[in-house]
């Protein structure tokens, strides 16, 4: 019928939203059920790698527990789902998976979640992983499942065309340095191979650079004091240098990440390198299926970075919060994380998991058998900090992402005008 009644209306149905994070892979299972009297539901999105067999390991030692998984394909849908049910006060699963990007908002409603800090999980994760999920008063709201340490993915054939080294170690050496250095090599590249971008998107580069700052948008920890964008010289410099390199020096292929154009560009060799968190591997593999020249180098401009990662939370709404917490702790234990890494590819968030010998031995056939376990383990170990994400972090990051997109992708504004619009937008939206 003509009227999109409320039932039809908010359908951000198919496809991908949010520059978020997550983990994706092609294996795993849907709704898994095993027997018992305490019913626990686990709500996940994308691909957490939870299977019947995995749950059976838990229920073997907890015969009274029955576990059911609720899967949502898109993290955006999962977020709407979580927030709607939090607002309604009921309907949530016993364990709700949360994307690291929503944590700042979840933290504002800390009273609706169980404090998960416990002796069992003490020292399980690196400090920067734990601090993302810890409130100002010290409560731990989520047990970390996976992280997104960033390496550099590149196309051998295009590097060869430009006369650059093509082996992993050579590329790692070539790109080792700060972002200016990365841009300089890029300028060499585009002068040799005109018409091909050095990287896919200015937004991705900008995002990666923001992720390396301790306090990108606000001045203090632990409470957020937003620096008005027009006074935030650090971000303005980052914005300008990223756009100069991307647009003026033509290093960016000008593709909006996740768009249809972006996905198809993998088949058409439109760019040579990419900022590559561990969970990007299956995405490149799908988008670039049939292309044989992708490889991964153990290097990241500016040192190290993490992009994304997820957590398991236990809403207080649930009837069996104690059992739920126990399950969440088990699901995020190093042992289980290693199993999931091997089956689904999600990189373990725990210290022990990341250093496990089975993880270190992993290789990825699509990327010419690159030793991805060793590479991402090394990249994870290099990460020391994550930006402080207050309630307004996401708002400002979105506004800046759009500003970059106007110049890099849409070409509908120049850098200066787009910045001014971002300043005004941020002013209107910051709480």
């Amino acid at each position: 019928m003509r009227i999109p009644r409320w039932r039809v209306a908010i359908a951000p149905a198919c496809a991908l939203l949010l520059i978020a994070t997550g983990c994706s892979s092609n294996s795993g299972s849907g709704d898994a059920t095993t027997g018992g009297s305490v019913n626990l539901t686990v709500a996940t999105f994308n691909e957490f790698g939870y299977t019947d067999d995995l749950f059976a390991q838990f229920t073997k030692t907890h015969p009274n527990v029955k576990i059911t998984q609720k899967k949502v394909a898109q993290s955006a849908d999962a977020k709407t789902n979580l927030f709607t049910k939090l607002a309604a006060g009921s309907g949530l699963s016993d364990i709700e998976a949360v994307d690291g990007d929503w944590l700042p908002q979840v933290k504002q409603s800390a009273d609706k979640f169980v404090n998960l800090s416990s002796d069992t999980t003490k020292d399980r994760w690196p400090d920067w992983v734990v601090s993302q999920a810890t409130t100002t008063s010290g409560e731990l709201l989520g047990d970390a499942t996976d992280i997104g340490p960033e390496a550099t993915c590149y196309r051998k054939d295009l590097f060869e065309k430009a006369g650059l080294p093509t082996d992993r170690d050579g590329v790692a050496q070539l790109l080792s340095g700060d972002w200016d250095h990365y841009f300089d090599v890029g300028k060499q590249f585009v002068s040799k191979v005109p018409g091909v971008g050095w990287y896919d998107s200015a937004g991705a580069v900008f995002n990666a650079r923001v992720q390396q700052l301790a306090n990108p948008f606000s001045s203090t920890k632990p409470t957020e004091t937003v620096i008005p964008l027009d006074q935030n010289t650090q971000i303005k410099d980052l914005y300008n240098s990223t756009l100069t390199a991307s647009v003026d020096n033509k290093l960016s292929a000008g593709l909006g990440q996740w768009s249809g154009d972006w996905q198809k560009a993998f088949q058409n060799g439109a760019f040579a390198t990419m900022q590559c968190p561990a969970w990007m591997q299956p995405i490149i593999k799908t988008n670039a299926s049939g292309v044989t020249s992708w490889d991964i180098a153990n290097v990241f401009p500016g040192g190290a970075g993490n992009w994304g990662g997820s957590y398991l939370t236990v809403p207080k709404q649930g009837k069996h919060t104690k059992e739920a917490q126990e399950l969440a702790e088990w699901l995020t234990s190093p042992d289980v994380q290693v199993q999931i890494f091997l089956s689904a590819g999600n990189f373990p968030a725990s210290k022990a998991g990341a250093a496990d010998s089975k993880v270190l031995a992993a290789t990825n056939e699509f990327f010419n058998n690159a030793p991805t376990g060793k590479i991402f383990s090394a990249r994870a170990a290099a990460v020391t900090t994550q930006p402080f994400k207050g309630p307004n972090y996401f708002t400002i990051n979105t506004v800046l992402g759009e500003a970059i997109g106007r110049v890099d992708v849409d070409k509908s504004a120049n850098a200066a005008d787009s910045w001014n619009k971002a300043v005004a937008d941020a002013k209107a939206q910051v709480k």
């Binding site: 019928m1 003509r2 009227i3 999109p4 009644r5 409320w6 039932r7 039809v8 209306a9 908010i10 359908a11 149905a13 198919c14 496809a15 991908l16 997550g22 994706s24 892979s25 092609n26 294996s27 795993g28 299972s29 849907g30 709704d31 709500a43 994308n46 691909e47 059911t68 609720k70 899967k71 949502v72 394909a73 898109q74 849908d77 709407t80 789902n81 709607t84 049910k85 607002a87 309604a88 006060g89 009921s90 309907g91 996740w258 249809g260 996905q263 198809k264 993998f266 088949q267 058409n268 299956p282 995405i283 593999k285 799908t286 988008n287 299926s289 049939g290």
Partner: protein, 285 residues
């Protein structure tokens, strides 16, 4: 009883070739996007990326793509299909019946507050639906219906759109004289509804049934919130095709094709009767 006769088309002469040309163009436009879906679902990720304009001849991957849909982990196609059929049939029948009743009352009966109530119903359609989600979820949770099919079915049992549609249709198609004649003949209100309004309303009610069916069938958001992946309707189940960030258009389009196919079949079977029914059953004043 209503005076019925063989439907005669407006216009006595057969129209010329220009008319048919217009129709051929209209139908090509109508069909191409669906054919495009078919072309993409018979293609592959790589081919789609390389050729923005797909060739007119389908490629050979349709079966393998459809198999992939059926073998997607956690996707119970037939379970979801049955849920969708149940929701769509119950809602369409209910909307058609209740809308005809209310439409008859609004169009042809005189009662206190008639115009006000009708305006009110139309106004309810203007309420932006997005905000209803949270309060509605609260209602469903209070009733203990979350996760069950009934939570999807009940809110769609009536439709302001349907009432408005039947009112407008009946006010044009059903002359007052007939209603009054029935009353004079001593029919009770319900009898006059059955004998006078129902036959007149039949084509419009059938259209309403089809429209409601399509709406129910394609609704995604509310079922995804209130049902989740355990007991899904078809659109909710098919979203599992897009798990992860890499979307394979050939797979997604195969899902689109699979979910559209039942409607197309229904449409070809029922629609034929329906479309000719509209024409044959229309009541003359």
């Amino acid at each position: 009883m209503t005076k019925r006769r063989e439907r005669r088309e407006h216009g006595i002469r057969r129209p010329g070739w220009l008319t048919y040309l217009v129709l051929v163009v209209a139908i090509l436009i109508a069909v191409y996007p669906l054919y495009y879906t078919f072309l993409l679902s018979s293609s592959s990720q790589i081919e789609i990326a390389k050729h923005p304009i797909p060739g007119l001849i389908p490629q050979g991957n349709l079966l393998s793509n459809l198999t992939r849909v059926f073998h997607t982990e956690g996707l119970d196609f037939w379970g979801a299909f049955i849920n969708s059929v149940m929701v769509a049939v119950i809602q369409s029948a209910s909307v058609a019946i209740f809308s005809t009743l209310a439409g008859f009352a609004f169009a042809k009966l005189r009662f206190h507050g008639r115009r006000g109530l009708l305006a009110f119903i139309v106004a309810t359609m203007a309420v932006p639906p997005q905000l209803g989600v949270v309060p509605l979820f609260i209602v469903m949770a209070k009733l203990g219906w979350t996760g069950q099919l009934v939570a999807v079915i009940v809110p769609g049992l009536v439709s302001a759109f349907g009432v408005f549609w039947m009112t407008q249709y009946l006010s044009g198609a059903l002359p007052y004289e007939l209603v009054e004649a029935a009353r004079v003949d001593g029919c009770s209100m319900f009898a006059s509804f059955r004998h006078v309004a129902l036959p007149a309303a039949r084509p419009a009610a059938a259209m309403l049934f089809l429209f409601t069916f399509v709406t129910s069938w394609t609704t995604y958001f509310w079922p995804s919130i209130v049902l989740g992946s355990q007991n899904p309707t078809l659109p909710v189940a098919l979203q599992l095709l897009q798990t992860g960030y890499a979307k394979d258009m050939s797979l997604i389009m195969s899902g689109v094709l699979l979910s559209t196919l039942p409607l197309l079949v229904l449409f070809l079977v029922v629609g034929r009767q329906l479309v000719s029914g509209i024409m044959a059953g229309a009541v003359k004043g």
